[in-house]
Symmetry: C2
C-alpha cells in the first residue's frame, strides 16, 4: 500500500531465513482484513509503500537451525501477531504483548498478502495443522489467523456465558464471528447491529437472535427496547470508529461490559461520569491473542461443527488484490480470500 486507495502488486525479493528461529512459509491462503481498510482510507501517500496482510495459512518451506517443532512441508496457521511462546505474557495467553514479538508488515517483516513470508520465532508463532493444502477447510482455518479468534476474544473478555444477553456492534467478519463465539459460549440472546442484509443473514445463521439495522439514537432505543429498557450487560464492539463506541455506551446496561476488538480509530473517548463511571461500566478488549485460542477453536473447525469460513464471499488471485480492497471498501464483499 502506497497510500489511501493505492494498493499495488509488486515483485519483491523472496524472503530468506535471517535468524535461526525463523521459518519460511509459502502462503496458501491469505485475506484482506477489515482493519486493512483503515489505512486504505487514511494512509498518507508515500514513495516507498508498505507490505500488507496479517492473516495467512501456508506450508513451511524452510526452517532455521533452532526451530524445533516445525519442518519443511508442515501446514501451518499464522496468527496475526508473532510471538516467542515463552515470555511471561505468552505464558499468560497474551501473545500480542510478547516481549520479543511483533506484528506482520512492520519492522522489516513482510505481510501475508504475498507468496511467501519470513516468520520470526516460528516455534512460538505457528500452529501446525494436519490438513492438505487443498483442503476444503482452508477458509475456516484461515479465520483462526485473526477474525475468528478476534470475535472470540471479544466474547471472552466480556466473560460471555450461558444465558447471557449480548449485543454485537458491527456486521463485518469480526462482528459475525463474535456472534458465533457468543453462541458457542452459551449466550441465549444475541442482538446483532448491522445494516447489510446479506451479512446479518449470515449473522442469524451464526446465532444472532435479533438484528437491529438502525444506528445512532434510533439504534440505541431499539436495543434498549429489546433488552428490557436498561440495555445489555455485554456489548461486543467490532468496528473501531467513534460512533460504534458511542453506540456501545448507549446500549450497555449499568454494571455491564463493553468489549472492544475493532481497532480504535480515535485516541480520546468519553469515560467520565455520564458515560462509563457513573453506571460502573467496564471497558475491556484489545488486539486478540489469537495464538492463545487456536488450539481451543481448531477442533470445531476441523470437525465442521462451526463454519467460520463462510465469512469469505469473494476469492481472488494475488494480482487481483487491489480490486479485493475496493470490493471490501464498497461493501460488495464481506471478506476477500486471496489464493496466491
Amino acid at each position: 500500500m502506497y497510500g489511501a486507495g493505492d494498493v499495488r502488486v509488486e515483485e519483491v525479493p523472496d524472503p530468506v531465513l535471517q535468524e535461526p528461529t525463523d521459518a519460511l512459509v509459502r502462503v496458501v491462503r491469505a485475506c484482506v482484513c477489515g482493519s486493512d481498510l483503515h489505512p486504505y482510507h487514511s494512509m498518507p501517500a508515500t514513495a516507498e509503500g508498505r507490505p500488507m496482510g496479517h492473516e495467512f495459512v501456508g506450508v513451511v518451506e524452510g526452517v532455521g537451525s533452532q526451530v524445533a517443532t516445525l519442518r519443511r512441508g508442515d501446514f501451518v496457521i499464522a496468527p496475526f501477531a508473532w510471538s516467542d511462546g515463552t515470555c511471561e505474557f505468552c505464558r499468560e495467553g497474551l501473545q500480542t504483548s510478547c516481549t520479543h514479538g511483533g506484528f506482520w508488515a512492520t519492522g522489516g517483516i513482510g505481510g501475508g498478502q504475498a507468496e511467501g513470508v519470513r516468520v520470526p520465532l516460528a516455534d512460538g508463532t505457528l500452529v501446525k495443522v494436519p490438513v492438505a493444502e487443498d483442503s476444503a477447510l482452508l477458509p475456516g482455518l484461515l479465520t483462526l489467523s485473526d477474525v475468528y479468534g478476534t470475535g472470540y476474544h471479544a466474547a471472552r473478555r466480556a466473560n460471555v456465558g450461558p444465558g447471557d444477553t449480548v449485543v454485537v456492534i458491527g456486521d463485518g467478519a469480526v462482528g459475525l464471528l463474535a456472534v458465533l463465539s457468543a453462541r458457542q459460549l452459551g449466550a441465549e440472546r444475541i442482538v446483532l447491529m448491522g445494516r447489510h442484509k446479506d451479512r446479518t443473514d449470515l449473522g442469524r445463521e451464526f446465532g444472532a437472535t435479533d438484528v437491529v439495522a438502525e444506528r445512532g439514537q434510533e439504534g440505541i432505543a431499539k436495543v434498549r427496547e429489546l433488552t428490557g429498557g436498561h440495555g445489555a450487560a455485554k456489548v461486543l464492539e467490532a468496528v473501531g470508529h467513534m460512533p460504534a463506541y458511542e453506540q456501545a455506551v448507549g446500549i450497555v446496561r449499568p454494571g455491564g461490559v463493553i468489549s472492544r476488538v475493532g481497532v480504535p480509530q480515535y485516541d480520546d473517548a468519553p469515560v467520565g461520569f455520564p458515560s462509563l463511571f457513573g453506571p460502573n461500566i467496564t471497558l475491556t478488549g484489545g488486539p486478540a491473542p489469537v495464538r492463545a485460542y487456536i488450539e481451543e477453536l481448531l477442533p470445531g473447525v476441523l470437525e465442521g461443527a462451526v463454519q467460520p469460513g463462510k465469512v469469505f464471499d469473494l476469492t481472488i488471485d494475488l494480482d487481483e488484490v487491489p480490486g479485493g480492497y475496493r470490493a471490501m471498501d464498497r461493501r460488495e464483499a464481506l471478506k476477500v480470500l486471496i489464493r496466491p
Copy 2:
C-alpha cells in the same frame, strides 16, 4: 455550599416525613469527603446554595408507615446513595444504579452535613448496627458510609486476590482504605503512590509494602522498577484527576486492570491503541455500591480487626464545617469528622 470556597452553616427547617417509606435520622457523626473538594474548587457562585454531605451515621427519630425494618432509636449507617433494595440492580449489588434511588443533597433530599436528614426508601437504604451513639467505633462505622466501601470497591472491581501486586494511586482516605482492602483480599505487594508522609505512614500501617512519592514520568519509572519492568496487573485509582488517570495508564501491566473510584473530573480520556487497547487494559470502577459491602465489612469493624476510622484526624462541630473544608483543602487534615 454557595460556590467554590464558600461554605456556610445555616438554620434550615427540620426535615419531616414525606413518604411512607421515609425515615428521619438525627445525625450523630458526619464528615467531609475528598469528593466534596471538587465543588469546593470549581462550583460556580449561586444565590441559593446547595446542601452538602453524603456520609453519616445516626439515630432513627421517626419512620413512615411503610417502613418495616427500622424503628425509633435504631442506630444506622447511611450509604452515600439511597436505594430501594429490591430493584434488579439492588438485587445484583449495584445499588448506585437503583432504579428508584438517588444521592444525598440532590433533588430535594438533604445532605449529611446537618443535624438531621430525611432518608428515602429507608428499608433499602439504612443498615442497623447494634452500637450506642457514644461508641468508640463511630469513626470506623462512618467509613462504611463511603470511603471504606469505596476503597473496597476499587479492589473488588480489580479482582484483587491472594498474591497480587497492586498499585494504589492517591493517599486520601479512599486510597488508604483501598490499601487496607487490597490487603484484606490477600494482595502481597501493595505500592501506594502519595507524597504526604503522615498519610503514607498510615498507608503502611494499613498494609502498603512500598510508597512512591514521585509523580508523573518519574513516578511511573519508579513503579515499573518496583514491579519487574512491566508495571502492575492491578491499579486502583483513587483521585479522579486526569494526571492520576495518565499515571494509571503508565504503570498498568499489559493485560491488567485500572479500577477507578476517584470521581473523574474529566469526560474524555485516552483509550486508544497506545493507552488501553494495544496492551489489552481493562478500565473499570465507578461509584461504589457501598450498601452491598456494609454487611461484609461490618464484622471486621465491630471486632476491631481493622481500624478504618484512623483516616479521621480532625474532629469538629457543625459550626466549624467551613474550617473543616479549608483544612482538608490545604491538606492540613486527611479527613474531617463532624459531630453535630
